[in-house]
Symmetry: C2
Subunit: 749 residues, 2 copies
């Protein structure tokens, strides 16, 4: 046997043995799979959206490869260079892994390999990150959360090139980088890792992903079930003021999957954080599906993960932007990368809902894996159908028993009411029981302020939460709900707030002309009950659907009630007189009031106070039943805001003093339009002549709306029994009404 032949034989043996190992633990197996990759390669060039995405990702990755690898010594907050660079590194590495598998071009594998070894060389001696603000500092980033992001993505990159590395190389990486990394974010930071919180979800997924690649069962157990003895203090708090540990609560990925999602797939922190948390949930769910299908993670809790995708998509306006419930940054939408993941996975591993394809079409990119291929093929084959958002009522709480969020929609999102009667929503929750926001198509009519933060913009508090998030954005007065005696709900105390939730009274969207949701809050102000009923009504006498709002208050004490409307737009007209102050002063001292300037102060001149504004080229009128003694305040955000961290947005506020039981009844009526191009002003006046409370006692509240043509609409609410079968009878003004169920709606001329 010649030397040449011996070498050839050795090469064959090596090839066979690699193939043998690959059989034992085939890679890629985490997100990409061998069969998936084969299918992708076979279809390359014949699936336009997939091919487009490959091209765009190639351009992006090739440009980074050309720039060279940089793994700088960590020093910055999220706005700074080192943060951005390390973030880009893991994002690009994950994509390079996909490209390597799809194109089989070695440069991608080499890029990942070189980067991983640079990290390996650095990590061994890397101290904790120098920025000290976080309750759980990372090493590459200022918080463990971002380190976990890194590991979730790098696990995928590592899996993609696993077979290209020698076992010695793998051992080096695993012993010096991946295992210490996983230990650091888990065992060394249980206050981060061992909670039910979106941070922990990232941590759990990170440990779990690398566990699956390394086939490390101990780490996988830690990922799924948490750390048994974490030694955490029951009083410790995170940076957002949230409790670290709740007695008796389980930890780990499965606990995180169990607890924050309601059976409907609503995530208790709200859509902005659900969007963020969906990625680790789904990507680790998919990894488990691929590597440990017997654990049935996707099917866990009655398919809650895939239901969560549907719930999240339904928590967006007509432009796909998520409602900014709790801490939510406006503008975040289903165009974001984690929603590409969510939509692709939900389509492919769910029931292949063709409506999801139309969202993917708008996103105009897919995942570079089997699910992305499947979506792109569905679109290519013309299967896409419009994603139709209807009215929906989503429960909150692990068992769906902690209130919820209702979204009433009329038509093709012509009017959308978002009504929040949920639980506190963990540390990102706002003190805004029974608050709401209103949208016409994608435009805000009455806003939820959202968060006070410029995410990742270093100049604004390092891109982190600003002081004003606590002093303004979370406060009760910042929301379209009731403030009593200038206090926050639950006195702004997180522990108290976390013990309670509002209760659904009833939800009924069966009649599309009159859709109603009603809920009760008993704990926000002890001794005071808030019962709010909101309806979206379409009446022939009105051009557009309108919103009816009945807030019934029963209190055992006399209080001051403030009831604001955060209208979006420019003041047009009102039917009351008011005085304009010469200088602007804050409305109060604390609880958010210190941030409101008073721009006008008046009193009602009739029982039906009206106020109109123009926003986004459309007209809106508030008609509200007022008392002569009410105060009407024009307010504007911006007082005590020296850093200009808040938007200078306006509100009209009704203030009622020295009152126990009372009622606030309002209609928000969208009408007409204005175009600066045609300069045509259409239907700029309200169609409501009078709004009147015609009955109000313990059992029933009756409201009549008379339009300008004399047509009367009567809405009667049964206050104490909402059961659908219950028969009711009530006499109002000499006329007797009989009906069955929670409410009665009647009209006449």
């Amino acid at each position: 046997m010649s030397l040449k032949n011996i070498i050839a034989l050795m090469l064959i043996v090596m090839a066979l043995s690699t193939s043998f190992f690959a059989q034992a633990q085939p890679h890629p197996n985490l997100i990409l799979t061998q069969s998936g990759v084969e299918k992708i390669r076979k279809n390359l060039g014949s699936v336009p959206l997939f091919d487009d995405t490959v091209q765009r990702v190639k351009q992006e990755v090739d440009a980074e490869i050309a720039l060279g690898i940089d793994t700088p010594i960590p020093k910055d907050f999220s706005g700074g260079y080192t943060h951005q660079r390390h973030k880009l590194n893991f994002l690009i590495a994950q994509k390079a892994g996909e490209l390597y598998q799809i194109t089989q071009q070695k440069k991608y594998a080499k890029y990942i390999r070189d980067m991983l070894f640079q990290y390996e060389a650095m990590y061994k001696t890397l101290p904790v990150h120098p920025q000290e603000r976080s309750y759980a500092r990372g090493k590459l980033f200022w918080q463990c959360l971002n380190d976990s992001n890194w590991l979730v993505y790098m696990s995928q990159a590592y899996d993609a090139i696993y077979n290209t590395l020698s076992s010695a190389e793998r051992e080096t990486l695993e012993n010096n980088l991946f295992r210490p990394f996983a230990d650091f974010i888990s065992i060394e930071n249980p206050q981060f890792y061992n909670r039910v919180h979106n941070h922990s979800t990232w941590g759990n997924a990170a440990v779990g992903m690398i566990a699956l690649v390394m086939n490390d069962d101990e780490l996988l157990q830690r990922a799924l079930y948490g750390i048994e003895d974490d030694g955490l203090d029951l009083n410790a708090r995170d940076n957002d003021g949230g409790l670290i540990k709740v007695a008796g609560q389980k930890a780990g990925f499965l606990a995180n999957l169990e607890d924050p999602f309601s059976p409907d797939g609503y995530y208790t922190e709200g859509p902005y954080y659900q969007r963020y948390a969906m990625y680790p949930f789904l990507i680790f769910g998919l990894a488990m599906h691929n590597v440990k299908p017997e654990m049935q993670v996707f099917e866990h809790k009655n398919n809650v993960l895939l239901k969560g995708v549907d719930a999240l998509l339904n928590l967006s306006d007509a432009d796909g932007e998520f409602f900014p419930l709790n801490d939510g940054q406006k503008g975040m939408s289903y165009y974001t990368a984690s929603l590409v993941t969510a939509v692709n996975i939900a389509y492919h591993y769910g029931e292949k809902n063709p409506q999801l394809l139309s969202i993917a079409e708008k996103q105009n990119k897919v995942l570079l894996d089997e699910s992305g291929l499947s979506v792109a093929m569905g679109i290519r084959d013309g299967k896409a159908q419009p994603f139709v958002k209807s009215s929906i009522n989503l429960t909150d709480g692990q068992n769906g028993e902690q209130g919820g969020v209702a979204v009433l929609r009329y038509g093709n999102e012509d009017l959308t009411l978002v009504f929040k009667y949920a639980a506190q929503g963990l540390s990102h929750g706002h003190y805004d029981k029974l608050s709401y926001s209103l949208y016409e198509k994608g435009d805000e009519v009455l806003q939820d302020y959202g968060l006070a933060r410029f995410v990742n913009i270093g100049q604004k508090g390092g891109g982190n939460y600003l002081k004003e998030n606590k002093t303004w954005a979370k406060t009760t007065i910042a929301h379209n709900t009731l403030s009593q005696n200038e206090q926050m709900h639950f006195n702004g105390k997180y522990e108290t707030a976390s013990k309670h939730h509002s209760e659904l009274y009833f939800y009924d969207d069966a009649n599309k002309q009159v859709q109603v949701v009603s809920a009760i809050e008993n704990n926000a102000y002890p001794g005071t009950q808030l019962h709010r009923t909101m309806a979206v009504i379409k009446d022939d006498g009105f051009e557009k659907p309108f919103m009816l709002d009945i807030m019934k208050i029963n209190s055992d004490s006399k209080n001051q009630y403030d009831f604001p409307y955060y209208f979006m737009g420019q003041v047009l007209s009102q039917n009351f007189e008011y005085e304009s102050p010469k200088v602007l002063k804050p409305l109060g001292e604390n609880n958010g009031y210190q941030h409101l300037y008073v721009e006008g102060k008046g009193q009602p001149s009739t029982d039906s106070t009206q106020f109109s504004w123009l926003g986004n080229g459309k007209y809106y009128t508030l008609t509200t039943a007022t008392k002569k003694s009410d105060e009407l305040l024009f307010t504007r955000i911006g007082a005590n805001d020296p850093q200009f961290n808040l938007r200078r947005d306006a509100a009209l506020m009704i203030r009622r003093k020295d009152t126990d039981d009372t009622l606030f009844v309002s209609v928000i009526e969208p009408h007409g339009s204005y175009s600066p191009v045609s300069e045509l002003s259409l239907n700029s006046s309200s169609h409501i002549a009078q709004l009147e409370v015609v009955h109000d006692d313990k059992n029933y509240t009756g409201v009549s709306i008379q339009d300008v043509k004399g047509k009367v609409s009567l809405f009667i609410l049964a206050n104490s029994d909402a059961s659908p079968a219950k028969q009711h009878q009530l006499e109002i003004g000499g006329k007797t009404y009989n009906w069955k169920g929670s409410y009665h709606f009647a009209q006449w001329y």
Copy 2:
């Protein structure tokens, strides 16, 4: 001859005589022509955009015909029903006339005929309009201006059905409606009719249009040359405060064509009013072209009418919205109907510029006449080319000798500087000599406030100009220019302002990397000379082009100078300390200062004061050379505005007290971007390390900009001789610079 035969013969004779009359004065001949209509009919069904427009207009007109004709007794301002109805009547009648000619369906002719006779029956006894606010009240509308609109459109409708009417019918309409109507808006309202003003242009065109249809030479003379003896008072004023009569000034259409347009086609009132005035200019111009081609109206003053269309299109941002110079409502754009007319006529009767076709494509509709057909055929045949807007310098004044407006653009409208050194602009002019606004693509970076009016929105002052237009929008402090001693330019006196204009010092856009405009104002503040030089510079060390601003002031007295920057967006950061007041107070008592709240007050901490903001997802930094004794004020519009007529927009203002000669030098630097979807913050910091005035005397001003990498850019301006051929030599810091021409630009590390 039987009776039957006699009748037949009579019918033939009548037909012949109609035909004879039609030969003598063929109709339609005003806008539509017989040959044009033939061509349209022949091409129906084969020119997509034209056919689409016919279909849409048909739907619109058919819907109105189905509603029936209403000619209510006039009573409302522009926001009200009677105003809107009469306006819709003439718009629809004009379109019905086109449809009659194109489709030959009699229902359209009947609709117009019936409507005209309803007006005829009403007009005979119609008093002057009951609303008394106008200096020239109409009959159908509250001002003669709108009555003139009516006649301009109705003349076209009448022309279109002229041949369908008996001569007796025509006589009735002409004697009872059209001639009295024309007399009313001219002879009975010379203060409206006999001026050089956009109002008069409408009046002249109205009288001229109906004159051409009726073949009435006396009226035509009145249209072209005005009323000889108008008996007007030389001190009388209109509602905007404009002088009615200027001694020795000619009147009539030709005078209006002569005077307000500069030879470059710039209209002295600004683009918002040019857009409005273009319609009567062009439509009557076209009517004259058709009926009296020998008068060569289109060719008048070296094709100024068609040049005007080009000038107007160039006075728009990347979204097609007109710069709101003087009184201009933001949002008005080349999508408005009068610009469809302008673009179609300019294409067909001009040089068939294929770039105009791309604008017509965006407008997505055409005129239903020969010019519209021509445009639609050009688009169908693939002739459209992108409309490229480059830098342009437009003179103002009848002979182009009264200053002007320069627009410096870099790239594909990546940065657009609008610099105004024009004449006062008649009664719609603002007191803003040497002011500017800045755009990145279609987004405002530093704004011109525009007007204070909600055009046609009845709730806001009847849709007319608001008090705040005078107290705020027209004032000097409302603009990005210099205010001295809290006074307005020319003390806000219209007569004085109208006598003066700024002077161009030089304009040079030859080098696309350094484009410069410079102008001098000697009269705004007697005894003080303002010399402002603005450059748009693209340097390799910067991601985007930036703007350099050198305002040199020479005064024979010590003054307070205020220099504001009306930035659009949210405050990010600054390198100076400031105090935030506990209560907001107005900055001053009058001249616009009473509308500004002070939100912060500080002083520079370095010679290069920096201030950054975030607007429309993009970052901007102002770097300005300041003195230790300067005050820096954060202001916000909204004080003394009880009706909420003003937008709550912000500014940073530099205040320099007790100073005669001085210099304000600034750079506005766009950089980076932020997306709430990706949450990526890119290039959010300024690239400028220092901005320094390195030389300043009577003859030269030198400014150096040092970037963060150490590269220095030096800009030297020759202050007293801008001739291109002049040789200059200057020593700065031991180094000698030699150059030829108005400025020198050099760079080194």
